[in-house]
C-alpha cells in the first residue's frame, strides 16, 4: 500500500487537512474504506479457500501417505484403503478424451465461423454457442444418461460381442465432456481469432493466398496463444466437472479394463463419499487431498495462461506501430 504515493491522491488529500470536517467528507472516507474492504474480501476469500483445503488435504496425506494416495489401485473407504490412482486416471483420461473429441473440433468450427461463415451467419452461430455454454451441466448429464449411455452400450456390444457392459465408463464420460466443453472452447477461440488484424489477411490475399491458405497459415498461427489457452480452459473445466460425469461414469472404484467399463473420477468420488464420511476423519480428509489435484490443475492453467498472455503482449509491443 505504501507505493500509493502518486500525484493524483496527494493533490486531493492536501486540502482535506485544512478544511472543516463535513458530512460529505466523512461519508467519502467511509465509502473509500468500504471499497478497499471489498477488494480485501476477494483476496481473503481466495486465501481462505486455499488454506482450508490445503490444511485438510495435508492431514489426509499425512494419514495415508502420498505414495499410497497417488499409486494405490484400490479405493475402499469402508476398509480404510485409499488408493487414488483410479480416481486420477479417470479424471485425466476423461478430460484428455474430452479435449480430443470436443475441444479440437470446436477449434476448427471457430475457424470456420470466423473465416468462412457469411456475415449474417457468424453472430447467429455465436449466439447458439453462448446458449449452449449456459445450459446447466446436470441437463447435459441427464440427456447423456438417457441417450448416450445406451448408445455406448450398443457400441461396446458391436466391438466386443462376448462381454457384457452397462455402457457407463470413460468413453461415455469423454463424449459427454467433449460436448459440454465445445461451446466454451469455441467462444474463446472465436474471440482470439477475431482479434487477428485485417491487415494480415489483406497482405495474405495480396500475395495470392486463397481464403483457405489465409485461414490456416495466417490466422491460425497468429492466434495460437488464445487457442491454446482455450484448449487448456476446456481441459480444466472437463477435469473439474462433477455432476454430469457422476451420472455416466458408473462409479466403480477401480481401474477400468477398457473405455467401456465403469470407473470413477476425483470429483465424482468427492461428491459421493462426502455425504457418508464423518467430518475430520481420514475418510473425509483424503477427499480434500484428492481435491488438491484439481486445485493444482487449475493453478497450472492460470499460470500457463498468464505466461502466454504476457508473452503475447510483449511480442506485440516490441513491434513498431
Amino acid at each position: 500500500m505504501n507505493i500509493a504515493a502518486t500525484a493524483g491522491p496527494k493533490a486531493e488529500q492536501e486540502p482535506r487537512e485544512h478544511g472543516p470536517i463535513t458530512r460529505v467528507r466523512v461519508l467519502d472516507g467511509v465509502i473509500r474504506v468500504a471499497l478497499v474492504g471489498c477488494g480485501a474480501f476477494v483476496l481473503i476469500a481466495t486465501i481462505a479457500i486455499l488454506l482450508f483445503l490445503g490444511r485438510a488435504g495435508v492431514r489426509g496425506i499425512q494419514a495415508v501417505g502420498i505414495s499410497q494416495l497417488i499409486s494405490g489401485v484400490l479405493w475402499k473407504p469402508e476398509a480404510d484403503l485409499f488408493g487414488g490412482l483410479p480416481l486420477i486416471v479417470g479424471t485425466f483420461v476423461s478430460a484428455i478424451g474430452a479435449v480430443i473429441v470436443g475441444a479440437i473440433p470446436a477449434m476448427f468450427a471457430a475457424v470456420w465461423a470466423n473465416e468462412f461463415a457469411s456475415k449474417a451467419l457468424c453472430p447467429l452461430y455465436r449466439r447458439t454457442m453462448e446458449v449452449a455454454a449456459a445450459i446447466p451441466s446436470v441437463v447435459y448429464g441427464w440427456l447423456a444418461l438417457v441417450y448416450l449411455v445406451p448408445a455406448m452400450e450398443s457400441l461396446a456390444h458391436v466391438i466386443r460381442p462376448n462381454q457384457t457392459t452397462s455402457g457407463e465408463g470413460l468413453a461415455a464420460a469423454s463424449l459427454l465432456l467433449g460436448i459440454m466443453i465445445a461451446p466454451t472452447v469455441l467462444l474463446l477461440s472465436l474471440d482470439s481469432l477475431s482479434r487477428v488484424p485485417s491487415a494480415l489477411r489483406d497482405a495474405s490475399a495480396a500475395l495470392g493466398g486463397s481464403p483457405w491458405q489465409t485461414a490456416m497459415r495466417v490466422c491460425l498461427p497468429h492466434s495460437w496463444r488464445g487457442i491454446v489457452i482455450a484448449l487448456f480452459f476446456g481441459f480444466a473445466r472437463a477435469a473439474g466437472e462433477t455432476m454430469a460425469v457422476q451420472m455416466v461414469i458408473g462409479g466403480a472404484r477401480k481401474l477400468p479394463g477398457d473405455l467401456f467399463s465403469p470407473t470413477t473420477t476425483i470429483s465424482t468420488q468427492i461428491v459421493m463419499d462426502m455425504q457418508n464420511a464423518m467430518p475430520n476423519t481420514t475418510g473425509s480428509n483424503v477427499l480434500f487431498s484428492m481435491s488438491l489435484v484439481l486445485l493444482v490443475v487449475s493453478v497450472v492453467v492460470v499460470l500457463f495462461t498468464r505466461g502466454l498472455t504476457r508473452q503475447g503482449r510483449q511480442g506485440r509491443s516490441r513491434r513498431p506501430a
Binding site: 474480501f41 476477494v42 486465501i47 476448427f108 454457442m129 446447466p136 446436470v138 487449475s298
Partner: protein
C-alpha cells in the same frame, strides 16, 4: 495449326478442388455441431414443456404449508407476467410492421402488470400441478414447487452478496486503486477464483459452514459459496463497463465541485449500470445452473414444514440439484417425466436470463449503443 493456350482461371490453381472439399467438410462439421445443440434444446423444450403449460381447470388445494399461498401467487405473477411480456412484444412487433410505430409504453406496461396481478390473484390455484406440488421420492406425481422457490430465492440471496462486493471491488480497481501491488494480487486472486472447479467451492463451503460453524446444510452457506463463485465474472464485467464511462462526464462532475466518491456514485456507476446489470443477470444464470457446490452446502432434501420458508438457515435443493437427485437416488416411477419437466424449467430460466443479459449488454457496456450515442 497452333495449339490454343489454356485460359487461366481461379479454379484451375493447384489444389483448388482439395481446398473446396476441405472447406465444405469444415462447414459441414461446424454446422453439425450447432445442429446438435439446437436439436437438443428443442427436444428438451418439447419433451418437458407440456408439464409447464398444463393449466388445470380444477383448483389445486393448498397443502397447508406456511408461506405456500404467497409462493404460489408469486409464481403465478412471474408466469403470467412473462406471458404478458411475450404477448406485448408480439403486439409491439405487429404494430411496428402495420402502423410503422411501436405501441405507447404508457399503454403496454400497465397491461403487463395487470395481467400479472390478474394471474396472481385469480389463477393462482390453476397453475400446472407440476409447478406447485411438493416433490415425491417414491410415488408418481411429484412436483417441483419448493425447488422453483429455492432456485429463485438462491438468486436473490447470492446476488445480495455479489452485488455490493463485486461492484465495490470493480469500482476500487477501475477508479480508486493506487497501490499497483495490491491490484496485481487482486487480479491473481480473481484469476484463481475463476479457474477453480465448482466442486472445490463446495468443499470450502462444507468445511467452513457445515463442519467448522456447525450450521448444518443451509441456504445461506450455498448462497455464500455461489456468490464467491460468481465474483470473478461480476468484477470482470463491471470493471470493464466502469472503465468504459467517458472521462468527460466524470471531469464535468469534478469541475462543478463534486468529490471523486460522489462522482463515482452519481455519475460513473449509473452510467455503467446496464453493463453491471448484465453481469449480474449472467451470474444469476450460473446460480440456476450450479449443482455440485449446492449438494455439499445446502443439501438434497426438501422438508415439508419449511418448504416455502424465508429462513436462510434451513437447507433445501434447487432445480439443478433436484434433476440430479431424481436420477441418482429417486425411486418414483415417473422419474423420466419429472426429470424432463425439471430440465425444461431450467432451460426456460437459463434462456430468459441469457436474453435479458444480451439485451442489457447491447444497451450498455463498452461497445453499447448508449456509449456510442454519448460519444458521437
Amino acid at each position: 495449326m497452333s495449339v490454343a493456350e489454356p485460359r487461366l482461371e481461379r479454379g484451375m490453381r493447384n489444389g483448388a478442388s482439395l481446398e473446396r472439399t476441405l472447406r465444405l467438410s469444415l462447414a459441414t462439421g461446424a454446422l453439425a455441431l450447432a445442429l446438435l445443440y439446437v436439436s437438443g434444446l428443442i427436444y428438451l423444450l418439447v419433451r418437458g414443456g407440456y408439464r409447464l403449460v398444463a393449466f388445470t381447470s380444477i383448483a389445486t388445494p393448498l397443502a397447508d404449508i406456511q408461506g405456500e399461498p404467497m409462493a404460489r401467487a408469486g409464481l403465478a405473477a412471474i408466469v403470467f407476467g412473462s406471458f404478458g411480456w411475450v404477448a406485448s412484444s408480439i403486439a409491439n412487433f405487429a404494430s411496428a410492421k402495420i402502423r410503422g410505430a411501436y405501441l405507447p409504453k404508457r399503454f403496454t406496461r400497465p397491461a403487463v402488470v395487470a395481467i400479472a396481478l390478474f394471474g396472481a390473484l385469480l389463477l393462482r390455484d390453476h397453475l400446472p400441478r407440476f409447478l406447485i406440488a411438493l416433490p415425491s421420492e417414491t410415488r408418481a406425481g411429484g412436483g417441483i414447487g419448493p425447488e422453483i422457490f429455492n432456485t429463485l430465492y438462491f438468486a436473490v440471496l447470492s446476488t445480495s452478496l455479489t452485488l455490493p462486493v463485486g461492484v465495490g471491488a470493480a469500482l476500487y480497481m477501475a477508479r480508486f486503486a493506487h497501490a499497483k501491488k495490491f491490484v496485481g494480487l487482486l487480479r491473481t486472486a480473481l484469476d484463481t477464483l475463476a479457474s477453480l472447479p465448482s466442486i472445490v467451492y463446495g468443499l470450502f463451503g462444507f468445511l467452513v459452514f457445515v463442519v467448522q460453524m456447525k450450521l448444518g446444510y443451509s441456504l445461506f452457506a450455498g448462497a455464500f459459496v455461489l456468490a464467491l463463485l460468481n465474483l470473478p465474472l461480476v468484477v470482470g464485467v463491471a470493471e470493464e463497463s466502469l472503465r468504459a464511462v467517458p472521462r468527460e462526464l466524470e471531469e464535468a462532475s469534478l469541475a462543478v465541485g463534486a468529490t471523486d466518491v460522489q462522482t463515482a456514485l452519481y455519475v460513473t456507476i449509473p452510467y455503467a449500470w446496464p453493463g453491471i446489470l448484465s453481469a449480474l443477470v449472467l451470474s444469476i444464470g450460473r446460480v440456476f445452473a450450479e449443482s455440485a457446490p449446492l449438494i455439499m452446502t445446502a443439501g438434497t432434501t426438501i422438508s415439508r414444514a419449511t418448504a416455502y420458508s424465508l429462513d436462510p438457515l434451513r437447507g433445501g435443493e434447487t432445480l439443478a440439484v433436484h434433476l440430479w437427485y431424481v436420477n441418482s437416488a429417486g425411486l418414483a416411477p415417473d422419474k423420466a417425466d419429472v426429470s424432463a419437466g425439471t430440465a425444461a424449467t431450467l432451460v426456460v430460466l437459463i434462456l430468459l436470463t441469457n436474453i435479458v443479459a444480451a439485451r442489457l449488454a447491447r444497451y450498455g457496456g463498452a461497445t453499447g449503443t448508449r456509449l456510442q450515442a454519448a460519444t458521437k
